[in-house]
């Protein structure tokens, strides 16, 4: 789907306070466990994990075993380490370069997007100003225009400004996260009591200082959630860099991997499917780890942020 970043927000009126949510777990958890339900959910779990298992299994295979052995079990020769080494060293370590580029695009793009969305969402939630409603309509309306199809106008525009084939061509568009803005906006309305802001102003703090010293801390679960979703969006970004970049040394992992895959279509090109698969595994692993470790933070942000309206 072209939308890599969807609103992590669901709307619900008359939201309860968080405290209540947690208190109900105890009362509600008395029910007995159901085997049928567990079995049914296991089917979904298998559906979700089987392709990832396939990815892992096939990363352990040599190019030859890849096609000649059963897809869902290990081949004769456990070649994972060889494959990983080859992935990192093939073509003078271009994969490392792509990994570095991806990190750059994620840190600057997702970090910047989160910052801009947080500032803007907070501004919309806590201030009245002229043109506010127009801002809302335009920002959310623009999401509906297919990004893929806007690629050419964006490309022509950027190339007139000399931005194509530079990291900026990838970073600038990913700085915009309308959903991040929406989430923070909704979240900020309830997370930051008006009295607190008034008190801070009484103390003579400026607006910006109030934001950084008082508000940001209260917003942090929402901010982490937005960060998570923008990280996923920029890490998985494919189309935009594909169009904007022609220099392989600027590619992120997604574009690079697809180029490796397409390389077998080249006269004189090497078919390196084992490296495509291992590279895919290596692309997925960091973000999965990030998911698992940040779970505690983004879940609370999602739960809390999903409800305010």
């Amino acid at each position: 789907m072209a939308i890599t970043e969807q609103a992590p927000a669901s709307a619900k009126r008359h939201a309860p306070r968080l405290a209540r949510t947690s208190s109900r777990i105890a009362g509600h958890g008395r029910s007995r466990k159901s085997v049928t339900l567990t079995v049914l959910m296991s089917l979904m779990l298998i559906y979700a994990l089987l392709p990832l298992f396939w990815l892992f299994v096939n990363s352990t295979k040599t190019q030859g075993d890849l096609f000649s052995t059963f897809g869902l079990w290990f081949g004769g020769h456990f070649a994972l380490w060889d494959n990983i080494r080859d992935t990192f060293t093939y073509n003078h370590g271009i994969f490392v370069r792509w990994l570095g580029n991806t990190l750059l695009y994620v840190v600057v793009g997702a970090g910047g997007a989160t910052l801009l969305a947080t500032l803007a969402g907070y501004g919309l939630a806590k201030y009245d100003f002229p043109g506010k409603r127009g801002v809302f309509a335009v920002v959310l309306g623009a999401v509906a225009v297919p990004g893929t199809a806007l690629a050419v106008p964006t490309f022509l525009l950027f190339s007139k400004l000399g931005l194509t084939n530079t990291p900026w061509a990838v970073i600038i568009p990913s700085l915009v996260s309308p959903f991040g803005l929406y989430l923070i906006w909704v979240y900020a309305q309830d997370a930051i009591p008006k009295e607190l802001l008034e008190a801070s102003r009484m103390d003579g703090a400026g607006e910006l200082r109030t934001f950084f010293t008082v508000s940001l801390r209260l917003l942090s679960p929402g901010v982490v959630t937005v960060l998570l979703f923008t990280v996923v969006a920029t890490w998985n970004n494919y189309f935009l860099p594909l169009v904007m970049l022609s220099q392989p040394s600027l590619y992120p992992l997604t574009v690079g991997l697809n180029q490796w895959n397409a390389q077998s279509h080249t006269v004189g090109g090497q078919a390196i499917y084992n490296l495509v698969i291992t590279g895919s595994l290596l692309t997925v692993v960091p973000i999965v780890i990030a998911f698992v470790f940040m779970q505690r933070y983004w879940r609370s942000g999602l739960t809390a942020g999903s409800v305010k309206q």
């Binding site: 619900k12 109900r24 100003f129 509906a144 997925v284």
Partner: protein, 304 residues
């Protein structure tokens, strides 16, 4: 995406100090500057482009709305639109119902090892669409891929996932795989916020689990379902990455105009019909807004 128009704060109209009137702009200005540059100007440029026609022979000329006229009579455009519409009415409900069922199961507290399921089913969301498509593309191979392996091992005759009748289903499966856990998590988060007293009163009434689902959980989920539906509609209309990456594996069943987005892409990148491509983009944007708005109207009316 007007879904949350009533989230508009600013109910307080009481006059504030004049100096603070523009402070809000200070906070949103950085976002708006980038937004205007990266989205609004390209959209405007696309509209501008859509009013011209550039030929390989003959150059550039202003043609008014003739590109729009051409699109309305373009069978390929309608074919692509029909395909994503079909995709939308089949794949989106399946995905959302699966996600909803999973979320209810997670929330029921009757599941063993619930956190394991929650995280595992969500994981595919972390897999880039490119990687997901490459991976499923390998698995779909019915000569030597996983489908072939399974046929050989079990003696089955699974049909070719890339055949004419199945290719849309095969792509729908990839999209479902990618997003079912994501939608599940949204529903689950919304379920977690249902106030406890509602459950308590249901318990006093002696309501069973299914009754609780029907009369408490589902109504409370309605806004979340509405939002998930609208985003899935947008996603379906913008379907691109998966079919585009799978195309080399099955060129005859994934046409250059398989989806409107692919059509627009191929028009501009293969055919150099930048103007007509921009026209398709604008039409799709307008259609998406209209449909998303209609779904919202429908959703809120039912609520009332």
């Amino acid at each position: 995406m007007s879904v949350s128009m009533d989230a508009l704060p600013g109910s307080s109209r009481r006059s504030r100090q004049h100096r603070r009137r523009w402070t809000g702009w200070g906070f949103i200005a950085p976002f708006m500057v980038v937004f205007a540059f990266a989205l609004v100007v390209p959209v405007g440029y696309a509209i501008y482009l859509s009013l011209f026609r550039t030929q390989l022979i003959g150059g550039n000329s202003f043609v008014g709305l003739s590109n729009y006229h051409q699109a309305i009579e373009d069978a390929k455009f309608w074919a692509s639109l029909g395909r994503v519409a079909l995709f939308l009415v089949v794949q989106v409900p399946i995905m959302l119902i699966l996600a909803l069922a999973a979320a209810l199961a997670l929330d029921s507290a009757r599941l063993h090892w619930a956190p394991l399921y929650r995280l595992s089913i969500f994981l595919p969301y972390a897999v880039p669409a490119v990687v997901a498509s490459l991976m499923w593309g390998f698995m779909y191979g019915n000569q030597f891929g996983l489908v072939a392996s399974i046929n050989n091992a079990l003696g089955t005759h699974l049909p070719d996932p890339f055949s004419k009748g199945l290719v849309l289903t095969a792509i729908g499966n990839i999209v479902t795989w990618e997003f079912v856990g994501y939608n599940m998590l949204i529903f689950y988060s919304a379920l977690r916020t249902i106030p406890n007293d509602l459950y308590e009163s249901a318990e006093t009434d002696g309501a069973g689990a299914f009754r609780v689902i029907r009369s408490i959980k589902l109504p409370s989920l309605r806004p979340a379902i509405l939002i998930a539906t609208i985003f899935s509609i947008i996603g379906s209309f913008q379907l691109f990455n998966e079919p585009n990456i799978l195309k080399p594996l099955s060129p005859n069943t994934i046409a250059t105009y398989f989806t409107p987005n692919m059509y627009a892409y191929n028009l501009s990148f293969a055919g150099q019909e930048y103007n007509y491509s921009a026209t398709i983009a604008i039409i799709m944007g307008i259609l998406t807004v209209i449909i998303a708005y209609a779904v919202q109207l429908w959703g809120t009316r039912k609520e009332a």
